[in-house]
């Protein structure tokens, strides 16, 4: 039976892992390669490196960071942040990324999804969608897409944009709740379920992981195929292994 994946995200700025709340207020959480090594020992299923300031400061994802992480790890590695052209994607892939994550660039130029899927295969193209509830966090069930690290409305509905990304050749969707990012109050399960049910490609839920129960929820009511977290792992509040043991006890298939 296919396991539900636990993915650790390394938000990297200037070669250091950082993490903020609601996309702001960053604090340092250490060296990317060292954290990657620790997660790998604990049984993480996959890693995502996001160069979080790359789009704003118009920098490319740091190839050195990718190389340092990819050198010794034999699990899937996705890289995002500042990938705007086929050349940016090629640089990340050559440095050792198995998947590239497109966000703002895919919104500006959706054809880039298809170009990269043709060149590297759909399995190598992850479309990251940052979304928030259109109304207050009660009752409203529409979700709006934001670009530029959550700073600008893209004027798109998350479910509709995810469907288009799949049609254009995306292999997976990384869906982040801006409302929940870094808050540790739980994933946005209704949003995750809405997108996951509408697609045949896997959906990775992100934003809000705070407790073991949050992961159980996102894999059951949220219908997520994978869950991504950062802070909860960085500060060693929860080890990957104890999380997976908890999920297994609750009948959720994991790799242990």
């Amino acid at each position: 039976m296919l396991s539900k994946r636990i993915i650790a995200c390394l938000d990297v700025r200037n070669g250091q892992v950082v993490k903020g709340i609601n996309f702001e207020g960053l604090r340092s959480a250490g060296d990317p390669a060292e954290l990657a090594r620790r997660y790998n020992r604990e049984g993480i299923d996959e890693l995502v490196i996001l160069d979080i300031t790359a789009t704003i400061e118009e920098r490319r994802a740091l190839a050195d960071t990718i190389r340092a992480v990819a050198r010794e790890l034999f699990i899937p590695l996705a890289v995002g942040g500042g990938i705007r052209t086929e050349g940016d994607a090629a640089a990340a892939v050559e440095a050792g990324a198995d998947k590239v994550s497109l966000n703002t660039a895919a919104l500006l130029e959706p054809a880039l999804i298809t170009t990269l899927a043709r060149r590297y295969g759909s399995q190598a193209v992850l479309v990251a969608i940052d979304a928030k509830r259109a109304g207050p966090d009660t009752g409203s069930e529409t979700f709006s897409v934001y670009a530029r690290s959550g700073q600008r409305s893209a004027g798109r509905d998350a479910v509709e944009w995810a469907r288009e990304a799949e049609d254009r050749g995306a292999g997976e969707i990384l869906l982040t709740s801006i409302d929940r990012d870094g808050t540790k109050i739980g994933f946005d399960c209704p949003m995750t379920a809405a997108v996951s049910q509408a697609l045949s490609i896997p959906v990775i839920a992100s934003g809000g992981a705070g407790s073991l129960a949050d992961f159980v929820d996102v894999f059951t009511t949220g219908r997520a195929d994978a869950a991504l977290a950062a802070s909860i792992f960085h500060y060693a509040e929860t080890s990957v292994r104890s999380l997976k043991q908890h999920l297994q006890h609750r009948g959720i298939p994991v790799r242990l």
Binding site: M1, Q123, L199, S200
Partner: protein, 203 residues
């Protein structure tokens, strides 16, 4: 030296890195004639079966000739599927035909269903070892490996390990010196490296 055939179906950085990690030396054959010095051959690949058309008659003949001389051959992902007669994904494109059967698409389940079986099959899944073979030395039933694919090869007498995703399919195959893995050993942690070691030790 092991020949890694790059026919432009996906990026091979991770495959090269994994072979380097187990201490195996690779080279890039640029033409079928370059296979003469191969101690073993790896056919990798991701994507559409049609991409294997780049492995034309010249390549296929050279690979068959090496295999006939006892050189081990390993197909990875699309490379495994190519070992068979062909695939429903590209009916006009013949496979190498060293293994019996035709590859087909996983059925999956209706979209939106609870516990939906999504296609493509992406992620870590279990191996159930069907019978002993050199390629799975030191690998036990229940070990998990990383898959990303929609098409599969049928379960036959050559199937060494089976995986289930709505239906059983061949995760590992071996017939004499010809082996294949549907998953990505270069992305499957220690289990994947062990399988690559088993292949490299056969050379």
């Amino acid at each position: 030296m092991i020949a890694l055939i790059d026919y432009k179906a996906g990026n091979l950085t991770s495959v090269r890195k994994a072979f380097a990690a187990i201490g195996a030396e690779l080279y890039d054959p640029v033409s079928p004639g370059d296979l003469e010095r191969a101690t073993a051959i790896v056919v990798p690949g991701v994507g559409h079966f049609g991409a294997t058309a780049a492995l034309d008659r010249g390549w296929a003949a050279a690979i068959r000739e090496r295999v006939a001389l006892g050189r081990p051959l390993l197909g990875i992902c699309l490379g495994l599927q190519w070992l068979f007669a062909g695939s429903e994904e590209a009916p006009d494109c013949p496979g190498l035909g060293l293994l019996t059967g035709t590859c087909y698409r996983l059925k999956g389940s209706a979209q939106g269903a609870r516990d939906a079986i999504k296609i493509p099959h992406v992620g870590w899944n279990n191996l159930a070892i069907a019978h002993d073979a050199a390629i799975v030395a030191g690998v036990s039933t229940g070990s998990q490996v990383y898959f990303t694919h929609s098409f599969v090869a049928p379960v036959t007498v050559d199937t060494v390990a089976v995986t289930e995703h709505g239906e059983p399919f061949a995760a590992i195959v071996q017939r004499d010196r010809v082996a294949g893995v549907q998953f990505h050993p270069e992305k499957s942690g220690e289990v994947g490296l062990q399988i690559l070691r088993n292949f490299a030790h056969a050379t």
